[in-house]
Amino acid sequence: MNTFFWGLATFLLINAFACLWRAFAGPTVVDRILATNVVCTKALLVLALLGLAFERSLLLDVALVYGLLNFGITIAATRFLETGRLKGDWQA
């Protein structure tokens, strides 16, 4: 079962690196925020899988904090965009 967890974590990491391309080349600001959100979700799952593979329950707590930070970062960046502090390149 450990081998399966390692394989799934590797697959998720490859997916996360593919999503990093959208964060690098995304045409708008919201694309980059969305790609960061997706990469954070995949990193949360990788942390949970490795916490089970290593039998360290500490990594599950780290994953929990990671999820909360992911939500906070996304909502904060969205509020910056809505209040006009952060201008998208489609705005004049």
Partner: protein
């Protein structure tokens, strides 16, 4: 017998989750517009993370760590659609136009 059933359920749910993640990544990379991308990425991420975390919770089931995994699952199920909705609403309110077929040629 019970161990075989638990392993089968774990592997099936985790593979379904991995398939959803692959679909989400493809959608995030290939779709033409921000709105379609946020649609694909948010839904596939929610279902994929939910399935994989549920598989892990089934795998460690009698252990109290399963409760922590369920808490993580509830957090992802609450926060991921909220983030996607907030992003799409912010983009729409600040005036990002949706993509239409043939709109690339027009300025």
């Amino acid at each position: 017998m019970i161990a075989i059933i638990v392993h089968a359920v774990t592997i099936t749910l985790a593979l379904v989750g991995g398939l959803f993640f692959l679909a989400g990544t493809l959608g995030l990379l290939r779709l033409p517009d921000f709105y379609s991308r946020v649609h694909a990425a948010t839904k596939c991420d929610t279902v994929g993370a939910g399935a994989i975390l549920l598989a892990l919770a089934v795998h460690v089931a009698p252990h109290p760590e399963a409760l922590k995994l369920i808490a993580l699952l509830v957090l992802v199920l609450l926060s991921s659609p909220t983030s996607g909705h907030a992003l799409a609403r912010a983009a729409h309110d600040t005036g990002l136009r949706p993509w239409r077929r043939g709109a690339e040629e027009a300025p």
